[in-house]
Amino acid sequence: MNEAIVEILGLRKIYGSKNPVTAVDGIDLHVPPGLIYGLLGPNGAGKTTTISIATTRAIPTAGSVRIAGIDVVAHPALARCVIGVVPQYNTLDRSCTVFENIYFHCRYFGMTKEMATQRTSQLLNQFRLSDRASAYPQALSGGLAQRLQIARAIAHHPKVLFLDEPSAGLDPQSRIAMWEAVQGLRAEGITVVLTTHYMEEADELCDRLAIIDHGKILIEDTPVALKASVGGDIIYDLRMRGAGDGGLLEKSLAFIEGVTRVEVIEGGLRVLARVQDGLLAKVVTTANDYGLRDVTTTEPSLETVFIRLTGRDLRE
């Protein structure tokens, strides 16, 4: 693996001294350069705190974060040169126009007036905001404001862009536009680290994922590998009538060719299998004798992975 551009070691963050709350509980993370890297987890899992520490806005209780070799706790001001940040909430400068929001950001990072003007025009073009250049942020829709925030965050050519819940509050169309913009950034060579609690987003957008819960990383891999870890590429959920049969059906199902695993779920059984012709018919025929009421067919998703790891739904 390439040397990590974001290197998090033993990160812990405990808030409050009277009633301490552990938001991050020993996270290690190595993000290789050039990827879109996702932190997936429910609200309150510690994703935002992790990002806040990595972006110099929170001080860790223990552990270290290095970005492009710079220790962000020891040298926050220098670290800010190599990172771009889009927080969860809209932090656009309300007193400045769309153009000025990017222009002054460029100036803060040391560009000359000419360079800043040129870079701003280029970004407004790239993010299709040119016609709104003289508008104020209050006049922008959620999707446009989000795009402006991303454009501003990358204006100083950061090596890593952090996006905290980028699609929160966006309509489906804006979300897709945002995904395209983020994929474009990867093509430019910017490493993107994002947090999300949307499975589809993590699945569609990210090259690698870390699933976080209760301040810990549960698993880390590519979305494909994570889904494969479920142990099958098709899932049949069987709803059964009446009480259990002492495991008889479970055994019969496990004998069917192609079935990789059978699990007991509430109100029935879950069959994990490799896709092959005629398998569903066999499963149904076998289960029918035991009082089959209903079958649902699904493909393993990150949600399945999450439930398998935590026993909980991601939305709970």
Binding site: L78, V82, V85, E100, F104, Y108
Partner: protein
């Protein structure tokens, strides 16, 4: 692309200076756009105050009794206008600090969090706060400059103003303006954003009325407890400093004490403000 961008390998001081200058330019751009409201805000208070107390009241028949001008004019020290000139300049300086730092901060910490972008500059967080104090000081000096002609020309009795020491006046103006910014930073970071409306009643009114703005400190000698009590009010030293520099015929505190106390409050409020700022911005 060969753009000049803050590079982590550049000397720190170069990165910091560019960012600091960038922040100043942003603030100037915003101020220039809001120059009319700014002028109204600066001029309205002294304009009305002077108009009523030093022009309208002296013209009233029998108004002499109502007017503080009468007795002071009789005392031969140039009248109420002479007392008000440095006082109103002090209020303008102080209020500019509040309006330029405390009120925007309350909004940025509370509702919009838009301060986050500036905090993400390649600059130590304290320097972002210092920039606010600096920029506010520039506004304060400007505000004081706007008040001076008003306070000099509106009163119906002549104002006795003359500068004996320019270096002293400049030192007072600079210290007072920075102090006002530091006061704004302290208030803006210590007061909860939703309670910012209360600061007018709880902070601004008391420090103005008990700030030797409308009377010289020396005149408090008949109310000893108050004369000593107001010494904890930084506005006293702004008023007295300007009084000593501009209207020395009115009794005032010793120059050295004024400068020392301005410096003391500047350091104190800057430190408190910086701590509050860091606390608000970092978690």
């Amino acid at each position: 692309m060969s753009e000049v961008v803050a590079n982590a390998s550049d000397p720190k001081i170069v990165i910091y200076t560019r960012a600091f200058v960038g922040l100043m330019q942003r603030d100037f751009r915003v101020l220039r756009r809001e120059i009319v409201p700014f002028l109204i805000r600066v001029a309205m208070n002294p304009l009305l105050f002077l108009f009523v107390f030093t022009f309208v009241m002296p013209h009233m028949s029998g108004g002499a009794k109502l007017s503080p001008t009468a007795s002071m004019a009789a005392a031969g020290d140039g009248g109420f206008g002479t007392v008000l000139l440095p006082g109103l300049m002090a209020v303008a300086i102080m209020f500019s600090g509040i309006a330029a730092v405390a009120l925007p901060l309350a909004q940025e910490f509370g509702i919009t969090r838009e301060i986050d972008d500036r905090v993400m500059c390649p600059l130590p967080i304290g320097a972002v706060a210092i920039e606010k104090i600096f920029f506010s000081a520039i506004q304060s000096i400007f505000a004081a400059a706007v008040v001076f002609p008003l306070a000099y020309y509106i009163p119906s009795t002549p104002v006795l103003a003359h500068v004996t020491s320019w270096p002293f006046l400049i030192a007072v103006l600079i210290l007072a303006s920075l102090l006002a910014g530091a006061l704004g930073l302290t208030i803006g970071t210590l007061v909860q954003p939703k309670q910012i409306g209360l600061i007018f009643g709880v902070v601004i009114m008391p420090i103005t009325f008990l700030g030797c703005v409308y009377y010289p400190w020396a005149a408090l000698t008949t109310i000893k407890w108050l004369q000593i009590g107001v010494l904890i009010n930084p506005i006293v030293y702004i008023s007295e400093g300007l009084r000593a520099a501009l209207t020395p015929t009115t009794g005032h505190m010793p120059d050295a004490m004024i400068l020392a106390m301005l410096l003391f409050f500047l350091v104190l409020l800057t430190l408190v403000g910086l701590r509050g700022f860091a606390k608000r911005v970092l978690s």
